[in-house]
């Protein structure tokens, strides 16, 4: 047996034994140290005859690799044993609570406004805004509700001056006036926002939210109005079919005017929108009155269209099963937490409005 083979066999045998890291390091030195057994064999290569050299060198390399691999795997073995031993002691009670976190929430009215904007965005409406404090002209007169018109009684108005010239807007309709005065037709806008009436009881809050809609173009008829609202209500309540009823009504700024009811029924104590034989009023609408168009200098022989106003709080109550309007503005931590939405829940049309 050659020297080489003997070295190999001896050491492989040694490495089979149970060894510590120190033992292995000693073996490593014995083999590959400056004067180690393998190292000295390499030194011999120069003195070997040309004919033998090639064979010897290749054999030596093989043996060197084999031993080195064996040593490495032995080291790995020992290290993982050591880790495993350590892990046995590293043991937490994983049922202890996580570090505290707080979850913020978006108010249901804000969420509903985003849902509404997302739906109308699909059919080409853009969002307009107006100030909360309005002048009497934009809020009433320009909307074909002159002073001394009994329709003014339908709005219990908050005034900011004795002359009743400045007021808190009683509806979002003055945004129609501002928008049409500012730009040229066509108009296709929605205007969500805060509105105010001096009314306060179980079902009325002195502040509430409305969204105004306005679409003025050439040849916009009541058919378009019906189509738009039918689309909106279906999308908003996320139902395939909706029962909807237009009822003639009166608003000074639209003619003809209508109120819209949707069908519902009570199933297992819960309101189901879209079916059933009960009716629920949800919005007012109509064709913009020629007097209003005249007030904002839009040529009513050329342009016409519709407008609507929807109570946002009421929509939110219906969709999310909230009973008490007053609670919206009462800021009760528990209520906000219960009815609020995670800020990552942004209503979009590809993901759907709600989860």
């Amino acid at each position: 047996m050659s020297d080489l083979k003997k070295i190999k066999d001896d050491f492989l045998l040694k490495l089979e034994k149970k060894l510590s890291l120190a033992d292995i390091n000693e073996i490593k030195t014995n083999l590959f140290g400056k004067n180690g057994l393998i190292s000295s064999q390499f030194k011999k290569i120069g003195s070997i005859s040309e004919s033998e050299k090639r064979k010897f060198a290749s054999e030596l390399n093989l043996i060197k690799n084999e031993l080195q691999n064996k040593i490495n795997s032995k080291i790995n073995e020992i290290q993982s044993e050591e880790i495993n031993k350590k892990l046995e002691k590293e043991n937490v009670d994983i049922t202890l609570p996580e570090r505290t976190f707080v979850q913020g929430k978006i108010h249901p009215v804000s969420q509903t406004i985003d849902e509404i904007s997302s739906i109308f965005s699909e059919i080409g409406f853009s969002v307009e805004e107006g100030p909360d404090v309005e002048n009497e002209y934009n809020n009433f007169t320009a909307l074909n509700t002159p002073d001394n018109h009994p329709a003014r009684d339908m709005h219990d108005t908050f005034y900011l001056d004795e002359k009743k010239e400045k007021l808190l807007r009683t509806h979002t309709s003055p945004v129609q006036i501002r928008t049409m005065l500012k730009d040229k037709p066509p108009f296709k806008i929605i205007a969500p926002g805060r509105t105010y009436r001096s009314d306060s009881d179980q079902t009325h809050s002195p502040m509430f939210h409305q969204v105004e809609g306005l679409h003025i173009d050439k040849n916009i008829t009541m058919g378009h109005l019906k189509g738009c609202l039918n689309y909106f209500i279906k999308e908003f309540f996320e139902v395939k079919k909706i029962k909807m009823r237009f009822r003639p009504s009166h608003f000074p700024f639209t003619e003809p005017s209508a109120e819209v009811d949707i069908g519902y029924e009570i199933k297992d104590g819960k309101m189901v929108i879209g079916e059933g034989d009960k009716w629920l009023e949800i919005l007012g609408c109509g064709m913009v009155h020629p007097n209003v168009l005249k007030n904002v200098k839009v040529d009513s022989s050329n342009y016409q269209g519709y407008a609507f106003g929807i109570g946002i709080d009421r929509l939110a109550m219906l969709k999310y099963g909230i009973n008490d309007l007053r609670a919206f503005f009462d800021c009760d931590y528990r209520w906000l937490n219960h009815f609020g939405f995670d800020p990552l829940d942004v209503p979009t049309n590809y993901r759907g409005l709600s989860r």
Binding site: T100, S126, V127, V133, M222, H289, C331
Partner: protein
């Protein structure tokens, strides 16, 4: 407006059922609010007499009454009415009865430890009138012998309550409702023969309408009826009035009310013997007074339309009569008025005096000016029938005569607006059924508007009538096109939504509070703003527009803390007001946090929430929104509602003077005054309107992607500096030394106390040094180290700590 099916049938021939009627009314725009059956349970309400009253042992304002309800045994009833007294005859509702006004069912109840069997009712509780002060007082002479009898006469018909829109004054009478129904094909309008007064008796009372500016009366018709015997109304008339919720009074008053409800023609009856030398309809003088039939005395302003005689004001024309000339049961001679008053004048007067009556409601909406004679004829004949007497000739005084209204209508407008078609023939039929007269003039209809339709002014109103009567269900849906030519949100609207959700994602609950506030709270936060007062606030707690969102948020924070929550964060995004004019408002995001972080945590150390929590939320939110924190300039110049030493102000960069945000602890004095109990209260305000919006998209604002892969090294420095020196000043100095090499600066310790001289502090800073060109060697690093030390020492007076 209340009607009954039976009453309607006097004007309308129909084969339909009541259920169909209710639906049809709603379909043509006469919305049915409720249908109630008056007869169900009304037999329970009984005429009763109070035999004895005693003070309630446990309540000063309550009495315990022994009530005779005709059953022998007296009932004990607890009653709060001031007029409950021994001997009073009134109306008793037993347990089980449903109170018409509140729709609540009575039960035997313990009221402050005394058991009450049923209740004694006020007129308002029984929907008889709005009178809610005290219980009903029935006349002793009339009802003495009826104790225990039912009060209400039985009625089989349902009462239908209609919500009539302000434009449809014509439908404030049963006949108008019938006409609309007939036009829509629901039955046929009954032709009523009008009986006219033919009399030889002279109208001996002079009536004059003064010709003056702003005269509110345009016509005044009247007739005298002499030698009447006023009496209780016959059963049919009383039943009729009760069926629509009216209270019968006496035949003459009941008849005028009946005509008003039937054909919407308000009338007024005067006791002619109480009129001194004829009637004058004139403008009031400032300061004139009279007592109206509601028993209130009114002091008049100048130029209100009054009916007067030689002794002064008798009544307010078209609004309310006066007690001086009112009819009584012993009235012998009456003057019946049927007049026309101008809506604007009526409304002005009623608003100034704050009077609301049935006549006012009708006149301000517009009464048929051509119904003066019809009203007199109908009422006079009925009075004669029931009370006897002789009717005089009719006298009508006028200052203006009615002008016929004509509209030229292009029938093609209908389809242009409604989107569907109906034939010209059908249009004409609908309009004629509604009372229009129509003549064809080439392609137009020349329409005469019926005198009872003041709301119809122009072509579009005709379209409305046609759509309404044809039915809105005929409008065909045109599906919307999914096309967008303009972006949905503007830049600032996008920012609004982003900031809203960004703050919420940091653990804040979004609140929405009212735009008005309690001035007591608002005063703390209004700064230099003047109060913006609401003239007619709903309560004194909501009397000003808020100058800051804190005004409301802090109040609700207190309420939530009182509910027992300790650690919470709330925010609101919305308007604050800087002045009383449109547009003087800003959008602000305001957050408020109370309590501790990691309260009762088994793993983390708990600590009070502090100004640096608020600062992080502000800075992180702005960074998330795309603003570069490198340029932020922060100082301690804050409003007085913040803690002067623990609050800050943020500007987008040093040269910009617009404040983007304030943050900090709320001033301890305010916390104390509001009596808010928490370990710590910090807040922030971000002023959205001051945030500059770039024209570029966020993507276009980004620089080139440029990073270095050469080795970086970190060095720590500790400087002793004056206590007043701001960390930001040192950071600015260091970052300006070599922007190519110094890539990050981090303050990791601030220390005052032992081993540090007084009025000085130690700031420890970790600096990352990295080149984009090469790996820096020891020599390079040494050079930059020395430069940092030297520059900081020179520029800030700091000393490196060795």
């Amino acid at each position: 407006m209340k009607i009954t099916f039976d009453w309607l049938k006097e004007h309308l021939k129909i084969n339909f059922k009541e259920k169909d009627l209710v639906e049809q009314l709603t379909n043509i725009g006469l919305e049915v609010e409720t249908v109630e059956n008056l007869s169900s349970g009304i037999e329970l309400f009984k005429i009763a007499k109070i035999i004895k009253t005693e003070k309630h042992p446990n309540a000063d304002r309550l009495k315990v009454c022994d009530v005779d309800i005709g059953e022998g045994e007296l009932k004990k009833v607890v009653c709060g009415a001031p007029n409950a007294r021994e001997g009073l005859i009134t109306i008793y509702a037993p347990p089980g009865a449903v109170i018409p006004k509140t729709q609540t069912k009575l039960v035997i109840a313990k009221i402050r430890d005394v058991i009450s069997y049923g209740m004694l009712c006020s007129e308002s509780e029984l929907n008889l009138s709005d009178e809610s002060e005290g219980i009903i007082e029935l006349s002793t002479s009339k009802y003495q012998k009826k104790i225990g009898h039912r009060y209400f006469l039985e009625s089989k018909t349902n009462t239908i309550d209609l919500s009539i829109t302000p434009n449809r004054s014509d439908c404030l009478g049963v006949r108008g409702v019938a006409r609309d129904l007939a036009a829509s094909g629901f039955g046929k309008l009954v032709n009523l023969k009008e009986k006219k007064i033919k009399s030889n008796i002279k109208h001996s009372l002079k009536v004059k309408i003064n010709k003056e500016k702003n005269q509110g009366c345009s016509a005044f018709g009247s007739c005298l009826i002499k030698n009447v015997k006023n009496t209780e109304s016959p059963k049919w008339l009383k039943d009729k009035l009760i069926s629509v919720g009216q209270k019968p009074i006496s035949a003459i008053v009941d008849i005028t009310n009946y005509i008003m409800l039937d054909i919407n023609r308000p009338l007024h009856a005067y006791d002619a013997d109480k009129i001194e030398k004829g009637l004058i309809i004139r403008n009031s003088k400032s300061g004139e007074q009279f007592t109206a039939l509601d028993n209130k005395s009114y002091k008049l302003e100048k130029d209100m339309c009054v009916i007067s005689d030689a002794n002064g004001v008798l009544g307010l024309g078209g609004i309310i009569g006066g007690t001086r000339s009112g009819t009584e049961l012993d009235t012998k001679n009456i003057l019946l008025e049927s007049a026309h008053f101008k809506p604007g004048s009526i409304r002005n007067t009623a608003k100034k005096l704050n009077i609301d009556t049935d006549a006012k409601f009708r006149f301000e909406r517009g009464i048929d000016p051509l119904s003066i004679e019809e009203g007199l004829n109908k009422a006079a004949f009925l009075i004669k029938e029931i009370c006897g007497g002789e009717i005089s000739k009719i006298d009508i005084q006028k200052t203006e005569s009615y002008k016929i209204k004509k509209i030229l209508f292009n029938p093609s407008l209908f389809q242009k607006i409604a989107g569907f078609k109906i034939s010209n023939k059908k249009m004409i039929k609908i309009l004629e059924n509604l009372g229009f007269k129509s003549k064809k003039e080439r392609k137009y209809f020349s329409l005469t508007v019926p005198s009872w339709r003041p709301d119809i002014m122009q072509e579009i109103d005709i379209v409305e009538e046609l759509v309404r009567i044809s039915g809105f269900e005929k409008i065909k849906i045109v599906d919307p096109t999914k096309e967008r030519t303009k972006s949905t949100l503007t830049k600032s609207q996008k920012l609004f939504h982003f900031l809203q959700r960004s703050i919420a994602s940091k653990g804040y609950l979004e609140a929405i509070t009212w735009s008005f506030s309690d001035s007591n709270y608002n005063d703390h936060f209004k700064g230099k703003c003047e109060d913006i007062r609401i003239v007619n606030p709903i309560s004194s707690e909501l009397n000003v527009l808020r100058n800051s969102i804190y005004s409301n948020l802090i109040m609700y924070m207190r309420k939530n803390l009182d509910r027992g929550f300790k650690d919470l964060s709330i925010f609101e995004i919305g308007p604050i007001f800087t002045g009383p004019n449109p547009g003087e408002q800003n959008t602000v995001i305001c957050g408020l946090s109370a309590g501790k972080k990691s309260r009762l945590s088994w793993i983390d150390k708990e600590r009070d929430i502090d100004v640096f929590d608020a600062k992080r939320d502000v800075v992180q939110t702005l960074v998330e929104a795309g603003y570069s924190s490198d340029k932020f300039f922060i100082d301690d110049n804050t409003p007085n509602y913040y803690h002067p030493g623990k609050s800050g102000r943020l500007l987008l960069n040093q040269d910009k003077d617009e404040v983007i945000a304030y943050f900090g602890e709320i001033h301890p004095n305010i916390i104390k005054k509001i009596d808010l109990k928490t370990e710590s209260l910090v807040g922030f305000e971000i002023f959205m309107d001051n945030l500059k919006l770039s024209d570029k998209t966020l993507n276009n604002q980004k620089g080139k992607f440029d990073v270095s892969d050469f080795q970086k090294s970190e060095r720590d420095f500790a400087f002793i500096v004056s206590k007043d020196l701001k960390a930001q000043d040192i950071i600015n100095v260091i970052s300006n030394i070599d922007q190519k090499l110094i890539s990050n600066i981090k303050v990791f310790d601030v220390y005052e106390g032992e081993n540090i001289p007084e009025n000085q502090k130690s700031i420890a800073i970790n600096i990352t040094i990295q080149s984009k060109e090469k790996t820096l060697n020891e020599n390079d690093l040494e050079k930059i180290n020395n430069l940092i030390i030297k520059t900081v020492e020179n520029k800030t007076g700091a000393k490196i700590r060795s």
